[in-house]
Symmetry: C3
Subunit: 176 residues, 3 copies
């Protein structure tokens, strides 16, 4: 385990996770935003632009839809924090481009990358398994993999927060 500090923020859709990530990153001198979403349609493009405009100009942005472990490895160790937003979309990209069968290996690879992280990381993820069991098998596979991803990342994280209606609840680590 390296000295880098890993924070995981989880929660449902539009619960204030990204805003919380930016707030936690506030005090760092250098900030990198690792975006996993791709502007594949107008709706997505609009969401990405909205998020980008909510961040300030002091942010460097890297798009990393798939090669997340490699991206983390390449970040300079210069007092920088990286916000990764978000893991669930990255996992969706793994499913889309590499298939459900690739998910387990990719998750393991990502968790190993976290273990070797040299800079502080703030990771945003989503809760997707609190509804009725989905009809189609692919959605079931996805929520299973997302659940495993969240558990595995939470295990190596120094701090885990659940966001509800914009309010952070500390699941792991000390209160700030």
């Amino acid at each position: 385990m390296s000295g880098a500090r890993i924070t995981l923020l989880t929660g449902g859709a539009r619960c204030g996770k990204s805003r919380r990530a930016l707030a936690l990153a506030e005090s760092y001198a250098r900030k990198t935003y690792v975006a996993t979403a791709q502007p594949i349609d107008d709706e997505m493009a609009e969401r990405i632009m909205t998020h980008r405009s909510e961040r300030g100009v002091e942010w460097e942005t890297i798009e990393s839809p798939l090669a997340l472990p490699e991206t983390l490895f390449q970040l300079k160790d210069d007092g920088r924090v990286a916000v990764v937003d978000c893991l669930t979309v990255w996992l969706g990209n793994v499913f889309h481009y590499e298939g459900a069968g690739a998910a387990d290996a990719r998750i393991s690879e990502f968790v190993r990358a976290l273990d070797g992280a040299r800079i502080d990381l703030i990771l945003v993820t989503n809760e997707v398994g609190w509804g009725i069991v989905p009809d189609n098998a692919s959605a079931r596979d996805f929520r299973d993999a997302a659940g495993r991803l969240n558990q595995d990342v939470a295990r190596v994280a120094d701090r885990v927060e659940l966001l509800i209606a914009g309010i952070p609840m500390i699941l792991k680590g000390e209160k700030r």
Copy 2:
């Protein structure tokens, strides 16, 4: 900000939110129940009647499917508490009658009405964004708007509780 006390209760379906709202209203001399649901079909009518029979005769009931800010403004300031049940159904009505495009303005209007509230309010809302991303764009828009609504109301609320299996968890405010 007025002296009125605002409580927000959130949670999934059938988690005891409405019952908790009634319990928190117990000590007030005068009680108004603001119902946002409309009996548009038999299933809904049955739910509404069940809820109404669970309350006692000491409750005044107002149906306010759409004009919620106006309804709140008209309530008499006579030691009364109003339970609004629920915000998510109200937002669904906004989507149904005025379209998704109207939601942002309506939410802002409602939050301003809360800011000017002269009586204590107990607001019930729903968590709807903890499942797999819905297939249809309209459902995605709705859960985004519902998430924004919950965040905005939580920000002005004095107290926020999450209900799980009937058990309240305090997200904001003091323990009682």
Copy 3:
């Protein structure tokens, strides 16, 4: 109320509930695993086998897809703990074999069985009502019944935990 201790573990899909149940059962001399799932297709059979291999040989396994109250009643009172995994699947079986109309009576019967339990029980259930309202009425009925089940069981439980990303959050009972 008997002297038996009842623990309820709830949460979304793949949040670590089953693993937590096994960990809580660790210290008991005798352990029974009451499985409610039936291997009706390959996917389900695979999940069941995976779960079974994760438990050790010290576990006795009973399959009880429907007659859960009777199963609990027959367990020997010999310092044994029983893990029931899970209540939501049992309720799904009730819906499937007996219809939605049977759910209320079955839930009441199950809660009475808990009240008469002579051995410690660790019950696993699921949160299924935190997504968008399902389109079909049967799914809505199911999530309503599941919500009622969770509330009723939580009321008689000595301890309730919510699992999120593998991390238990205590909703009822003392911290361990």
